[in-house]
Symmetry: C2
């Protein structure tokens, strides 16, 4: 494959030559380390302009030892919900502290293969630090990679759902179980015993920690999850679509076999679910009680206002950034910390007492 010819970019040597000074002088003036004489100052500046000079960050990083002000952020896929919102918030907070925060995303779906390449790439960049989300997808090889980075690269902070990730680094973990408990308690108090659920697609449904947490909680109330009450996403990026598709499956069930309440692990999915149900004449909460997850702002405004478990985007992002910055400025350099954050049930109007 032929490659286009391009002029080579100007280097600091070109600038120095044109300005009639030494390389080192140009470097100093440009980095602002010294004032320099007005004359030299202006000459260098003009040379830069004329040449369109841009320092090569690779050379800079090499010479300076490492990139001081950029932090690598990685995740495995951009969702269209709280995941991306949290990512954005982390970037924002770190940005406010003067860091540049490029985001690395795995290209493929939920499959394994790309994760290693992504992680190697991220670790290899010699960022000042690394922040990662959705790390539960990683496997042994990738953990090694991250651990290696942690050893002689810089701090690593991960945030995810419980359980704790198998790596020695600071972690902010969202524990869904507390929320589940509040939701199930609420539904059980309303007389519901047939509680179904919708979960995002998972690699190993049998071992999904979230699903098991849900079943555990159900057990605490003497309830059990029937297989046909478990609805699973198909991997579309749009949660509302996922919810809508689940609703179609729901409607395929004979009315007597349907759950009387559903815990849908995403407000968007819950709303998609509800809108499809309404086309069939079913009403929330009359015909089905619905509990969402995330407490998106719209949940309070939609019809009916959605009872939901909150996902504290702000708290999580803030904590991640705090843990990281404490490491970076040396305020803390003890053993890895694990922060558990959980959501609360926000009661609104999408649940009602069990009929009959």
């Amino acid at each position: 494959m032929a490659t286009i010819e391009r002029e080579k970019a100007a280097t600091i040597a070109d600038v120095a030559r044109r300005a009639g000074v030494a390389k080192s002088t140009a470097s100093r003036l440009l980095s602002g380390a010294r004032q320099g004489t007005p004359w030299a100052r202006e000459a260098v500046e003009r040379a830069c302009d004329e040449l369109g000079y841009r320092p090569d960050p690779n050379a800079q990083k090499l010479a300076r030892g490492q990139s001081q002000n950029t932090i690598g952020l990685f995740t495995h896929f951009l969702d269209l919900g709280v995941g991306t919102k949290t990512l954005r918030r982390v970037q924002q907070l770190l940005g406010e502290r003067g860091f540049s925060v490029p985001l690395h995303v795995t290209i493929s779906g939920i499959e394994h293969q790309d994760h290693l390449a992504l992680l190697q790439n991220v670790c290899a960049q010699r960022y000042r630090a690394i922040v990662g989300a959705q790390a539960w997808l990683l496997r042994e090889r990738e953990w090694e990679e991250l651990a290696q980075y942690g050893r002689n690269g810089g701090p690593v902070v991960l945030y995810d759902h419980t359980p704790r990730l198998p790596i020695a680094c600071d972690q902010v973990l969202f524990d869904m179980e507390n929320g589940f408990r509040a939701a199930v308690a609420h539904l059980a108090a309303l007389g519901h015993t047939r509680i179904g659920t919708f979960f995002a697609p998972m690699r190993h449904p049998e071992t999904s920690p979230q699903l098991r947490a849900f079943e555990r909680v159900l057990g605490e109330f003497g309830l059990k999850l029937r297989p046909h009450w478990l609805f699973r996403g198909q991997g579309h990026i749009e949660h509302d679509l996922e919810g809508a598709l689940a609703a179609q499956t729901f409607l395929d069930l004979a009315p007597s076999k349907r759950p009387s309440a559903m815990l849908i692990v995403s407000d968007s999915a819950a709303m998609g679910f509800a809108t499809v149900l309404s086309r069939s004449g079913l009403q929330i909460p009359r015909d089905l009680s619905l509990v969402g997850h995330d407490d998106k702002p719209i949940a309070a405004l939609c019809s009916p206002p959605l009872t939901t478990i909150s996902y504290p985007v702000e708290a999580i992002a803030a904590r991640v950034v705090e843990l990281l910055c404490e490491r970076l400025d040396g305020t803390y350099n003890g053993p890895p910390r694990t922060e558990i954050i959980s959501g609360n049930l926000v009661e609104r109007h999408s649940t009602a007492a069990q009929k009959g």
Copy 2:
């Protein structure tokens, strides 16, 4: 601020020393340029393992001239809709072709200040190429930056809405006007004359090309946009929220002053709008005709199924990648190309004939 001490990462020199070979030998074996004797091969491999050696990409890029397989992708904010979906698709397609595609995002909102820093950062990375979205936000200084990169960096491909961006590079532009025309024609045929609209927040409402396009189209049908029929977003990341808030403003209007149809430039916003309306007992399309934008998958499934203008995520992403790859492999190296892509009206059931 104190900084934590870390051991320095192993270099290729360490590896070579430990393996008892020369640096160059280690380099060759690692890069796979030569086979090497089995003995040396194994010695180097073991040394790498023991030392946890990771090549420094900065040094590699410097030595090799530039990063051959990474493409910079930038945008100004991650939305929770088609913007992010398109970004993701571009990353995916480029990833399939073997490129690593870090995403750079401006941290701040719609304000100007950060864009320059972002762009300088992106350009400075010496990526093989740059792909950008939402470039309409850029100003003169940033255009210069990109132009400079294009001169001696590599190809730049931008995608955005019309109008054409003031820079000499390949562009894929989505033209909303055709969709508007189809929508307004549709509504006009149903007898609507009071057509309102919802737009995302803009810097300069008076000069927003999209809004002006809408007004122009309205004019073609002898219609006019009343100021109180124009609803504007408040800048929240959730479109559904934006729509819901707009609906509250809508409901504050005396019924006689309300538009009879709305074109809402986002399906999510349209659905948020609709759900708030329904809480007040208003029904779509009985009391208000609604046309959305984007043709999200859920639009076909919700209640009522949403008439909407499509936004061809796949076509746009594919075209961006094609244009770029043609530049990269030298298939095309002529003058900048501009591709216009537009959406179509997808008629469903959220519109009805004007009452009375």
